[in-house]
Symmetry: C2
Subunit: 416 residues, 2 copies
C-alpha cells in the first residue's frame, strides 16, 4: 500500500539521500572498467571494479548445490582476510558445471588480474554469468585483462554495469549519500538480473561499493540481514541459479571511526544500505523475463518474521497470481489460496486483502468492492498487493513480476 | 527411462490386472449417479457415489490453511467411525472462504442426502470444487439430491465422473482387478484435475472404491503412503488448492479375511491400489492447463527418499524446465540447476542425466550427445527425464506437464 511505502519513506527521511547519479565509482577509492572481448557479439562482456586499497569486503552466494567455479574461488580468497581490492566479472559464459578445468580457469582469471595489478591473488574476486557447461575462452579473457586494468577510471562505471548484463533490458544502478560523524559517506551498487543467455540460466549478481569505514565482520552481518529482506525476497520464476552472488566492498576512505551496530550513525548507514539493495532487487524483479509489471506483495500481522516472508513469497511466486496480474484480473481467490499453502499460520476469519488501495477481502470474506477500480490498480506499472493476517506484529515485503506470453516465448524458443 | 518402467511392470506382473473398463461401480456394492442442477451451463455438476453398506473409508485432505467447508464436514463425519456410505460432490462452486454460512450449507447438503437415503449423517461425505468465495445455490442442490438418490445405478459411474469436472478436458478413470485368497477384488477410481473455473482455483479430487475387506486404519495408512508417492508427486503450477481431497471406500463385499500389511496378498493389493492412484495422478498432470505433454521425472541414487522426492519435484516444477520441454529444447543446464536448488544432497562430479534414453550429462559434465535425438525425445507425448545422483539407494518419480502459451492465456484472460 502507498501508506506503508510513505511510512517507510518517512522513517528513513533525513537518514540518507538518494544520489541523483547512481555510480559504483562514486564512493571514494573506486574505479571501474568494462570492455568487449568477444564472448557476446557486440556489447561489453567483461568488467573490473578496483579499489585503491584492500577494501573490507563481504559476500553472499547462491544456495544452489552446484556452485559455479568462480564463486568457489572468490569465497576462498575472501576467507583469507575478508578483503578484496579488485573484482573481475564476465558475462555470456557462467563457468558452471565445468569440473576441474573450470576451477583452473577461474583461478587463472584471478591470477592474471592480480599480476596485472600487482596484488596478492586472494585480493581479487571473480564472478561469471551466462551459459552453463561451457568453458571460458581463456585467451580472449587473458587479452582483455590488461585492457581492463589499464583502463580503470571513475567514468568506467557505466561500462562495467553493461559488461555484466546478459539479456537484461536495462542496466541497474542505485546509490545513496549519508553522513557519519558529520562526514559524507556514499553507498552504491550495480546489478544484473534474470536476463538469460544460451542455455538461459537466470543469474543474479549485485556488486555494492562504499567508502564507509567498517570491519569485514560487521559488513558481513549487515549484508546477510539486508540480503534476507531484499535480494532473497525477489522471485522471477522460482529458479535459483548456480552463479548468484552479492558482494560489498568498503574502502574506508570516508575517514570516520569504524561503524558497528553500536555506532550512533549505524541506523543511517543500515537504512541507506538497505535502500540501495532494495532498489536493485526491485529493478531485477521488474526486468524479469517477459515482465510487464513490477509486483510488490506486503504481508502484515504475521506471527513471525519467517511466516511473513513465506506468505509474501508464496503470493509473489504463484503462477496463478502472476498470470492474473498479467490479465489485470482482481482474482483474490488465488491470493488467499497462496497464503493458505505458504506455511504461515492463518485464520480464515481474520484475513484482509487489498489490491492497490481497494479492499477485496475483509475478515476472510469477499468485500463489496468495485471490480473496475481493483482492475485499474492491476494495470499500474507497479502493482501493490497487501495481505493483513491480523494475528501478530511481523511483516515482510516480496517483489516479483507478472507471468506473460513473452516469458514462455523467451524460454521455450529453441537455442540458436 | 523405459527400462525403469519395464522393471516396475515386471515386478507388478501377475499381482494385478488392469481392468479394461475402469468404472468406480465395478467393485461390488457400489452405485453412482450424476445430474445437471444448473451451476454449470449444461454439463453435469453434481454427483453421488453410494455403497450398499457402510464402507470402511479413508481420506486425505489439502494442506492448505484455508480448508474448504465440505472438507471440514467430511473429516468430522469420518472421525466418528471411519465409515462412509455415500459421497456427494458438486462442481462449479467450491464453497471455500464462505465462513459460517458455507459450513451450514455443507452440513445441509450432508443432511439432505442422509435423509433421502435413510442414513446417519456421519456416513455421508461431501466435496466441492469450483469458484471460491461464492455461496452454493442450496435450492438447486436440494432439488438435485432426490434425483441423485433415486437415480443410483451401476451405469451411473460415467455421469458421476463427468459431474466432478471443471475445465478438465477429459474424464479420468482407472481400475484394476486382483485376487485375495483366490477371491476377485476390484479397485477403481475417478478423479478431476486442474481444470479451472471462475476464479479458476485448481482443485484435485479423487474418489476410489474397492470391494476388498480392510479396516479403516489399514486403509488410511495405505492411502497416506500411496498418496505420497502418487498424488503428492504431481504438480501443474505449484499451487495447492483449498479443496483437494482423495478418498477411498471399501465395501468389504469380496468376502476374504481382512487385509493388513501381514496378509500374504497385501503386496498384490498394495500394488494394485498404487497403480490406480498413479494412473489417476498421471492423467491429472497430463490434463494440466494448457499442457501439450506429460512429463515424468525419475530421480535415482539419492541418499534418502525425501531427497529423491524433493529433487524429482524440483525438476518437474521448474518453470524453466517446463518451458524448455514445450520448446523441445534439450536444455540440461536447467535440469541440473533445479536439482541443485532442490535441497537434495548432490555431488557435481557424480550426476548423470538422461532425456528419454539419451545421456546428456555424465558425471556432472555435458556428454557428447546427439541434440536432434534428445530433441525428438522431448517431442513425445510422454517425456521422460532421468537423473541419477549416484550417491545412495533411494528413488522417486514425479509427474507434471509443460508450460505453454495456453497456460498463460487460460489464466490471464479476464473472468467473464
Amino acid at each position: 500500500m502507498n501508506q506503508i511505502q510513505e511510512l517507510r519513506q518517512r522513517e528513513d527521511r533525513g537518514l540518507y539521500q538518494v544520489a541523483p547519479e547512481p555510480e559504483i565509482t562514486s564512493p571514494k577509492g573506486f574505479s571501474a572498467a568494462g570492455v568487449h572481448c568477444g564472448m557476446k557479439r557486440r556489447r561489453n562482456d567483461i568488467g573490473l571494479i578496483f579499489c585503491d586499497v584492500p577494501a573490507s569486503t563481504a559476500a553472499v552466494y547462491t544456495m544452489n548445490g552446484f556452485q559455479a567455479a568462480p564463486l568457489q574461488v572468490t569465497r576462498q580468497g575472501l576467507a583469507v582476510e575478508g578483503r578484496m581490492q579488485a573484482l573481475l566479472c564476465n558475462s555470456a559464459i557462467a563457468n558452471a558445471c565445468t569440473g576441474e578445468k573450470g576451477l583452473e580457469d577461474a583461478l587463472e582469471m584471478r591470477k592474471k588480474t592480480a599480476d596485472s595489478l600487482g596484488l596478492s591473488e586472494h585480493l581479487v574476486g571473480v564472478a561469471s554469468t551466462g551459459v552453463i557447461g561451457e568453458f571460458l575462452p581463456m585467451e580472449r579473457i587473458n587479452r582483455a585483462i590488461p585492457a581492463l586494468t589499464g583502463g580503470l577510471s571513475a567514468e568506467g562505471c557505466g561500462d562495467f554495469s553493461q559488461s555484466i548484463l546478459t539479456t537484461d533490458t536495462f542496466t541497474k544502478n542505485a546509490a545513496v549519500v549519508l553522513t557519519v560523524e558529520g562526514k559524507e559517506v556514499r553507498i552504491a551498487g550495480t546489478a544484473k538480473g534474470s536476463g538469460m543467455v544460451h542455455p538461459r540460466m537466470a543469474t543474479m549478481l549485485a556488486f555494492l561499493t562504499t567508502d564507509a569505514v567498517i570491519a569485514p565482520e560487521s559488513l558481513q552481518e549487515l549484508l546477510h540481514e539486508v540480503t534476507d529482506e531484499t535480494f532473497n525476497m525477489i522471485t522471477v520464476d522460482g529458479d535459483c541459479s548456480t552463479n548468484d552472488m552479492v558482494s560489498v566492498m568498503a574502502s574506508g576512505k570516508a575517514g570516520h571511526s569504524p561503524l558497528t551496530p553500536n555506532h550512533p550513525d549505524w541506523p543511517a548507514f543500515r537504512r541507506g544500505f538497505a535502500h540501495v539493495a532494495r532498489e536493485l532487487a526491485q529493478m531485477i524483479a521488474r526486468d524479469g523475463e517477459g515482465a510487464t509489471r513490477l509486483v510488490e506483495v506486503r504481508v502484515t500481522g504475521a506471527d513471525t518474521l519467517t511466516e511473513a516472508r513465506q506468505a509474501a513469497k508464496a503470493v509473489v511466486g504463484s503462477s496463478l497470481v502472476k498470470t492474473a496480474i498479467y490479465g489485470a484480473d482482481p482474482n483474490w481467490g488465488r491470493i488467499i489460496c497462496a497464503i493458505g499453502y505458504s506455511g504461515a499460520a492463518v485464520d480464515p476469519s481474520t484475513i484482509d486483502i487489498f489490491i492497490g488501495e481497494t479492499g477485496v477481502v475483509q475478515k476472510g470474506r469477499v468485500a463489496a468492492f468495485d471490480e473496475e477500480e481493483a482492475r485499474s490498480c492491476l494495470q499500474r506499472e507497479k502493482v501493490l498487493l497487501t495481505v493483513d493476517l491480523n494475528r501478530g506484529n511481523h511483516e515482510a515485503t516480496a517483489w516479483g513480476c507478472d507471468l506473460t506470453y513473452d516469458y514462455v516465448r523467451i524460454n521455450a524458443s529453441y537455442r540458436t
